[in-house]
Amino acid sequence: MRPANARMFRAGLVALLLALPFAATAAEAPKPPPQPWSYQGVFGVFDRPALQRGFLVYKQVCSACHSMSRLSYRNLLQLGFDEAAAAGFAAEVQIADGPNDEGEMYDRPGRLSDRFKKPFANEKAARASNNGAYPPDLSLMAKARPVGADYSFALLTGYINAPSNVQLMEGMHYNKYFPGFQIAMAPPLAENAVEFPDGTPASIENMARDVVQFLAWAAEPKMEERKRIGVKAMLFVLVLTALLYAVKRKVWAAVH
C-alpha cells in the first residue's frame, strides 16, 4: 500500500508540474508557433547578416512609429557594421543639443554616442499620429511579452481578414495573435518594403524574421557574452565538483 501511495503522489506532482505552463498561458489568442532562431540554445549566436538586415527593416519601417531609445548608434558596431557605416547611420538624423555658449539649443547630425532618435517628441504626439494608440518602445519588446520573439514574429505575419462575425473598431486591424485580436498597428510590412543590399528577397516573412532577430539582440545585447562566459563557468564548476567529489570519497572512505 505504501509504495503505491508514494507512486501516486509522484505521478500527481508530475502531472501538476506539466499542467502549470498551460494553465498559466490559457489566453484567448493562440500560442505563437516556435521559430528556429539561430541564437537559441547553449551555443547559439546571432546571425550577423540577419541582424544587419533587421536593423534596416527597423530603420526604414518601424522607426516611423516605434522608438528604441535604449540603443545607441555605437551599439550598431556589434551587428558587424564598420565604424564608418554606423557613424553614417547616426549622421542621418538631426539631434537636438545645447545650449551653446549663446544659450541657444541647436540641431546637429547624430554621433555614435547618441541614443537612437525617437520618432515622436512625447507619448501624446505619438498617440496623436496613431489614432490614439501608443506604439511602445521596442528596445525590450523581445523580453516584455511571453516568448517575445516568437510572439513578435507571429504578430508581424499574423494579419488576416476579420472573421465575418467580428465588428472591427474604427482604425483597428485584425491579427490572430494579438490579445483581443484588434490591434491599432496597421500591417507594417509589405512585400519589398525594404531593399536588402545582400540581395535577400524582401518577402514579408524574411523581413519579419530579420527584424525580430534584431529585436531579440536589442533586448539583451550581452546575450552572446553571457552564454560564452556561462559555458566556461559551467565547465570550471563541473571539474571543480568532480574534484570535490573525489576529495569527499577519500575523506569518507574510512567511515563507510
Binding site: 505504501r2 500527481g12 550581452k222
Partner: protein, 417 residues
C-alpha cells in the same frame, strides 16, 4: 574542549588574548556531527552561501542603481547594457533570490520530515522561521526596485493588504508608502530597507547557528548521538561533503543564471512601471505564490491577511502541535504519508497562486488552504496520540554499521505498519 596547540606564533599570541582561533577550531573543526547525515543536511550551508552571494552582488548593484521612479528602470537597464559585467551581477542577484528560496524551502521541509523542530531545537526552528520572514520581506522589496510593471503593481497589491487591519490599517499603509500611493518615497524606503534587512538576516543566522551548536544537528534517524562512535568531527568530513554539494547546487544556479536568466521572472517586469495601466494578471514571485493563494482563498480581506500570516504563524507553534516523541518520519508510518500530502498541498497552493482566482481555481485553492491548516492543527495533534511509531534503533551507529544501506535510502520497516 582543550585549546589546540597552534603552530603559528601570531595565532598563539592572539588566541591567548582573545580565543577566536580556539573558538573556530571548536565550532568548525572538531564540532561533533552525527555521522549519518544525508544530503538534505547540505541545504543549511547552501542557504548561507546564497546569503553571502546576495549581499556581495547586491552591494555592487547598489553602486550602479538609482532609487528614483524616473531613473530606476533605466539604471537597471544601464547595468544590463553598459556596466562591465553588470548583466552578470544582476542575473546572479535575481536568480540568486530564487535559489536562496529553493535552498531554504528544502532546508525547511527537511526539518519537517525529520522532526528537527522538536525538543531541544524549538528555538533553532523558530529562529529559522524569523529568517524566512525577513527573507520574504527583503525579496519582496528587492522585486520592487527595478520599477517594472510587476514591481509597481505587486507593491501596490501587497502594501494594500495592510489596510485590512482595523483602526490603524490605513495609517500603516500611508506610512509604508510615504504618501498616498506607491510612488517615489515608497521606492526610496524600500531600497533603504532592502539594503538593511539582509544584514539583519546575518544577525539572526548567527543566533540560529548558536542555537544549532548548543545541541548539534538532528539526523535522519532522529535519535540523539550516544557517544563518540555516533559522530564525526565537522572538518574534514562535513566540510568535504558540503563543498561537493555546493558544487552541484552552483551548477544548477549557474545553469539558470547563464542560460535561462529570465525563467523565474515575469515578462511584464521588462515594461517600465505605469500607474495608469494595470497588468492582466498581477502575480508575485514564485516563492510567495502559496501565501498569495491562501490570501485570495478567503472572501474577507482581513481574514485573508490573517490566514496568510497564520500560514507561517502555525509553523512557529509546530513544536507544540506535534507531540509525538519520535522525531524522524522514518519511524512514523502515518506521518510519513501526511508529510507528502502536505508537500503536494503546498505545490497545489503555489499553482493556484499563479492563476486567476476564478472558477475551479477558487474551489481548489480553498480546499488546499483548509488542508494546509488541518495538517498542523488537526492531523498532527491526532497523530501524536494515535500513531504507533516503529521501534527505534538503539543508536545511530547501529543502522549505519548494518551494511550502510539503511542510512541512505528508506529504512525497511521492522514490522508491518
Amino acid at each position: 574542549m582543550s585549546a589546540p596547540e597552534f603552530r603559528n606564533g601570531l595565532v598563539r599570541w592572539i588566541d591567548h588574548r582573545m580565543g577566536i582561533f580556539s573558538f573556530m577550531h571548536h565550532e568548525l573543526h572538531e564540532y561533533p556531527t552525527p555521522k549519518n547525515l544525508n544530503y538534505f543536511w547540505n541545504f543549511g550551508s547552501l542557504a548561507g552561501f546564497m546569503l553571502v552571494v546576495m549581499i556581495v552582488t547586491g552591494i555592487f548593484l547598489a553602486m550602479n542603481y538609482t532609487p528614483h521612479v524616473d531613473h530606476a528602470f533605466d539604471s537597471v537597464e544601464r547595468i544590463m547594457r553598459d556596466v562591465n559585467y553588470g548583466w552578470m551581477l544582476r542575473f546572479l542577484h535575481a536568480n540568486g533570490a530564487s535559489f536562496f528560496f529553493i535552498a531554504v524551502y528544502i532546508h525547511l521541509f527537511r526539518g519537517l520530515y525529520y522532526g528537527s523542530y522538536k525538543e531541544p531545537r524549538e528555538l533553532l526552528w523558530m529562529l529559522g522561521l524569523v529568517i524566512l520572514v525577513l527573507m520574504m520581506a527583503t525579496a519582496f522589496m528587492g522585486y520592487v526596485l527595478p520599477w517594472g510593471q510587476m514591481s509597481f503593481w505587486g507593491a501596490t497589491v501587497i502594501t494594500n493588504l495592510f489596510s485590512a487591519i482595523p483602526w490603524v490599517g490605513e495609517s500603516i499603509v500611508t506610512l509604508l508608502w510615504g504618501g498616498f500611493s506607491v510612488d517615489n518615497p515608497t521606492l526610496n524606503r524600500f531600497f533603504s530597507l532592502h539594503y538593511l534587512l539582509p544584514f539583519a538576516i546575518v544577525g539572526v543566522v548567527v543566533l540560529h547557528l548558536w542555537a544549532l551548536h548548543t545541541h548539534g544537528s538532528n539526523n535522519p534517524v532522529g535519535i540523539d548521538t550516544k557517544g563518540k562512535q555516533d559522530s564525526l568531527p565537522f572538518h574534514p568530513y562535513y566540510t568535504a561533503k558540503d563543498l561537493f554539494g555546493l558544487g552541484i547546487f552552483v551548477l544548477f544556479y549557474f545553469g539558470f543564471t547563464f542560460f535561462a536568466p529570465d525563467f523565474f521572472g515575469e515578462p511584464d517586469n521588462y515594461i517600465p512601471a505605469n500607474p495608469m495601466v494595470t497588468p492582466a494578471h498581477i502575480v508575485p514571485e514564485w516563492y510567495l505564490l502559496p501565501y498569495y493563494a491562501i490570501l485570495r482563498s478567503v472572501p474577507d480581506k482581513l481574514g485573508g491577511v490573517l490566514l496568510m500570516f497564520g500560514a507561517i504563524g502555525v509553523l512557529f507553534i509546530l513544536p507544540w502541535l506535534d507531540r509525538s516523541p519520535v522525531r524522524s518520519a522514518r519511524f512514523r508510518p502515518i506521518y510519513k504519508q501526511v508529510y507528502w500530502l502536505l508537500v503536494a498541498d503546498c505545490l497545489v497552493l503555489g499553482w493556484i497562486g499563479a492563476n486567476p482566482p476564478d472558477g475551479m481555481f477558487i474551489v481548489i485553492g480553498r480546499a488546499a488552504t483548509v488542508y494546509y491548516f488541518a495538517h498542523f492543527l488537526v492531523l498532527l495533534p491526532l497523530l501524536s496520540v494515535f500513531e504507533r511509531p516503529l521501534p527505534l534503533p538503539a543508536s545511530i551507529s547501529e543502522p549505519v554499521l548494518k551494511g550502510g544501506g539503511a542510512a541512505g535510502g528508506t529504512v525497511k520497516p521492522m514490522e508491518k505498519a
